[in-house]
């Protein structure tokens, strides 16, 4: 049954400092749930699965919408919408992020849903999450104690569990600059082209050094485990070797040590694994062709 929306309270801080103070005070005054774009939160409220009573509305915190690129990379405020991320000139150097931003829901969702919200919602199928992992993103968690940096790969400790203190708020994400000779691929596989929840979602980054060997490999996955994760065994199989058909086969085989997807309402584990292997092979072949063409 739908949650009785008329009984819910909203606090609307005017500054980030005020928001963090309210989060801190919530430790003694009772739980305060952050509200960003609401595209997940209202689904839970409409379904009656979210029973929290007090919400911290972040919509007045304009500084959290900022997107800017500098020499240290790209900083995206937690409240930046996927539409803003897809359009902003500063995101051009991180093409997988733009691609993911354009396949998360449709226009109606992209105009509201935020990067911080996608991270906090912590769905294993969150489409921006493998991208953040592949680019080596850092999460900035704000609190009354200051801003703490946390590698994105250390954020999830289990199914929908975040390594954040109860009073911490995700304020921004930074993506380091992408080194030259890096090839990337973002690939989402769902039931249909638009508006689908991923059966498998992949983001990969691969770099080959001037001597021809792979010296950087990040293969990140969504919808194949309880959290977004990297396939470390497949990455290990690639590092130090020259791209070749045999290497593609080795990486595909190694993937079995990394993931064992489950059957659920959207897909079967066996199918997911077969798709993941095919997507990995596609990435390695296209990346290899790209390197050879240079």
């Amino acid at each position: 049954m739908r949650t009785a929306l008329s009984a819910l309270e909203v606090v609307r801080p005017r500054s980030v400092a005020q928001a963090l103070a309210l989060m801190h005070a919530a430790g003694t005054n009772g739980r305060l749930t952050p509200l960003a774009g609401g595209t997940d939160l209202f689904v839970y409220l409409n379904a009656g699965t979210l029973t929290d009573r007090r919400y911290l509305d972040l919509s007045l915190l304009a500084p959290l919408r900022a997107i800017r690129a500098g020499k240290n990379g790209l900083r995206i405020g937690a409240l930046a919408t996927f539409d803003a991320i897809a359009r902003h000139a500063a995101t051009a150097g991180w093409p997988m992020l733009r691609q993911a931003a354009r396949v998360i829901g449709a226009a109606q969702i992209q105009n509201r849903a935020t990067l911080g919200g996608n991270i906090a919602n912590a769905s294993p199928a969150g489409d921006s999450l493998p991208v953040l992992l592949a680019y080596g993103a850092v999460v900035h968690a704000g609190s009354v104690r200051g801003e703490r940096e946390l590698p994105f790969g250390k954020l999830y400790t289990g199914y929908r569990r975040l390594a954040l203190e109860p009073d911490e708020l995700i304020v921004a994400v930074t993506l380091p600059a992408v080194r030259t000779r890096t090839r990337v691929l973002f690939r989402k596989v769902g039931t249909r082209a638009a508006q689908s929840i991923s059966k498998v979602v992949f983001a990969g980054a691969l770099r080959v050094s001037p001597n021809g060997a792979v010296d950087h490999a990040r293969l990140a996955w969504g919808s194949v485990a309880a959290t977004t994760l990297r396939s470390h065994a497949a990455e290990e199989a690639l590092l130090g070797s020259r791209p070749s058909p045999a290497l593609v086969a080795a990486a595909r085989a190694a993937l079995a040590r990394d993931i064992a997807p489950i059957d659920d309402i959207r897909s079967e584990g066996e199918y997911r694994f077969a798709v993941a292997q095919a997507v990995l092979a596609q990435f390695l072949r296209t990346a290899h062709a790209g390197f050879r063409a240079r």
Binding site: G38, F42, V43, N46, A47, D57, Q108, A194
Partner: protein, 200 residues
């Protein structure tokens, strides 16, 4: 005790003041507090788009928007398209081309199409662009082709010049003036195709 907030917003060009619970859905504020029942609830989870409205010009699912986020905002619902009894070009195109069957998705389709036309201002969007732009609005009758046709027809109409000075030039076929403004060869082909379709 239920908390309430006083909100001021502009709906379809008219200033509105409502006193509502802060987390009440914008969809319900529009339907219950503003009496605008054109926006529909289909799924209540941001999938079907029947509740699509423009919030400060951007299409959103009003079933996922808390009332407080509409404070000071400009909202456009399907009721904002017509001028009195006079339908907008987009609405006429839907009527003329059978873009509406059971009608459940039509308010959302029209509002999403309005945003799409604004995005492609002066150009006729391709089939793929229309389908992408409307991908957040589902038609349970599956009458998508006629919806795409209607949106392109409306786009062609708004892209076509109304100024007689240009259209009167004898050497120029109808449709071509529009394409000159639009630019690329692909757009020209599309505009010509749409013009042909319209002439049928």
């Amino acid at each position: 005790m239920s908390p309430r907030v006083r909100l001021a917003m502009t709906v379809n060009g008219r200033a509105r003041r409502v006193s509502v619970p802060p987390m009440k859905r914008l969809l319900d504020v529009l339907r219950e507090d503003c009496g605008l029942t054109g926006s529909k609830e289909g799924c209540g989870e941001g999938e079907c788009g029947a509740c699509t409205v423009l919030l400060n010009g951007a299409p959103v699912n009003s079933c996922l928007v808390p009332a407080v986020h509409a404070e000071g905002a400009k909202v456009v619902t399907v009721e904002g398209l017509a001028r009195g009894e006079r339908l907008s070009a987009l609405q006429r195109a839907f009527v003329e081309r059978g873009g509406s069957q059971c009608g459940m998705c039509t308010p959302g389709m029209l509002v999403a199409s309005l945003a799409l036309l604004a995005e492609h201002r002066g150009r006729v969007p391709t089939d793929a662009q229309v389908r992408d732009g409307l991908s957040g609005t589902l038609c349970r009758c599956t009458g998508y082709q006629k919806i795409v046709d209607a949106v392109q027809a409306a786009a062609a109409e708004s892209a076509a010049p109304r100024r007689p000075a240009r259209a009167r030039r004898p050497s120029r076929a109808p449709g071509r003036t529009a394409s000159r403004r639009a630019g690329t060869a692909a757009t020209r082909r599309r505009a010509a195709r749409t013009a042909r379709k319209r002439a049928r």
